[in-house]
């Protein structure tokens, strides 16, 4: 066997070790609770839910198309939702269309009171008392925020609160790209 060959084979375990360390190091900083949505790229599921304020008014999946928008899943029992609420207000003021999906809340009144006191960043408020719509969306907690394009397809799902950092990150970047696409 020639010399360089020998050297390469001798270094092979070291190389394998470095790859393994890199892999494990990445695992240290990844969040296993952040799952990518199975619905990315698919049209929003069909549903029919009442309005949060007006039980007589009903909405279907058709309200989630026409322009790029966010669908924010929230509830009053969710502390993180309270944390992100101010930022959602700010996004709404900046002209980002947000639809709210109230998810298995304690009561309609409580949710309405929340919006009255903290402000209502939502263009529409869907009231999903039993979580049946959220199940169609594969929601497993609150808050979750879906990015939906003008054709009513789900493009991205963010789990956890929306804040400045997240909006500078993938969620915001994807939204801005879609919004820019629409203007052209």
């Amino acid at each position: 066997m020639t010399k360089p060959w020998r050297l390469a084979i001798l270094l092979l375990p070291l190389l394998a070790f470095i790859v393994l360390v890199g892999f494990l190091l990445r695992g240290l900083f990844s969040d296993p609770t952040e799952l990518s949505s199975a619905l990315v790229g698919k049209p929003v599921p069909q549903f029919s839910v009442p309005d949060l304020y007006d039980p007589e008014q009903r909405y279907t999946q058709q309200v989630l198309s026409g322009k790029p928008m966010l669908l924010n899943v929230w509830a009053t029992w969710c502390p993180t939702c309270r944390a992100e609420h101010a930022y959602l207000n700010q996004l709404a003021a900046d002209g980002v269309p947000i639809v709210g999906l109230n998810y298995k809340d304690d009561s309609r009144e409580k949710a309405v009171r929340w919006l009255n006191t903290l402000g209502d960043p939502y263009q529409l408020n869907l009231f999903d008392a039993k979580g049946t719509v959220a199940l169609e969306f594969g929601v497993y907690g609150a808050p979750e925020t879906f990015l939906i394009d003008a054709q009513g397809r789900i493009r991205y799902r963010h789990v956890g609160d929306v804040n400045e950092r997240v909006w500078q990150g993938e969620l915001g970047q994807r939204y801005r790209a879609l919004a820019a696409e629409g203007e052209n």
Partner: protein, 164 residues
């Protein structure tokens, strides 16, 4: 008290069953999962231990007491009760929650390393051994002149020893 609860539950479920097209919205109120056919119950039991709770991650929806696990159990119950097959329920859940929701993930490009990885490592080891054995067998050692002379001497000495 207990029999009272059971009666109440039976009465309520009768009410639900009799009301025209009982909506799925009643799902949350299911307390006892009862089946008219043992085969369906078996499917249900299999499913709730095979489906994983997306919220609690390391528990099946049978083990977990999380709200979401309960919702998924209820949905599974309603689907099985109305005649869905095991695969139909799994497909339904996977379509919404991804492969993650099933404890037996399918083989895809991303997961194939788990199946083929150990075999590849074994094959690699076997290859190394094979190559080493072969080179050892084939490798004839070249002797220098002085070594050859020394070998001849040793052989001669040995010859003498055996002659005596």
């Amino acid at each position: 008290m207990r029999s009272f609860c059971t009666t109440l539950f039976l009465a309520l479920s009768l009410l639900v069953a009799l009301s025209p097209a009982a909506p799925a919205a009643y799902a949350e109120d299911i307390e006892v999962y009862s089946f008219d056919e043992p085969a369906k119950e078996a499917i249900f039991q299999e499913l709730i231990t095979e489906l994983r709770c997306p919220k609690c991650q390391n528990q099946s929806i049978a083990d977990s007491d999380a709200d979401l696990a309960r919702d998924l159990r209820d949905r599974t119950y309603l689907m099985v009760k109305s005649g869905a097959s095991k695969q139909e329920v799994i497909d339904y859940m996977v379509a919404r929650y991804g492969d993650f929701v099933h404890y037996q993930p399918p083989m895809t490009v991303a997961t194939s390393i788990l199946w083929w990885g150990p075999i590849a490592v074994l094959a690699g080891g076997a290859l190394v051994i094979l190559v080493r054995v072969r080179t050892q067998r084939r490798g004839e050692v070249e002797l220098t002149d002085s070594e050859r002379a020394r070998l001849a001497e040793l052989r001669k000495a040995q010859q003498k020893d055996t002659d005596q």
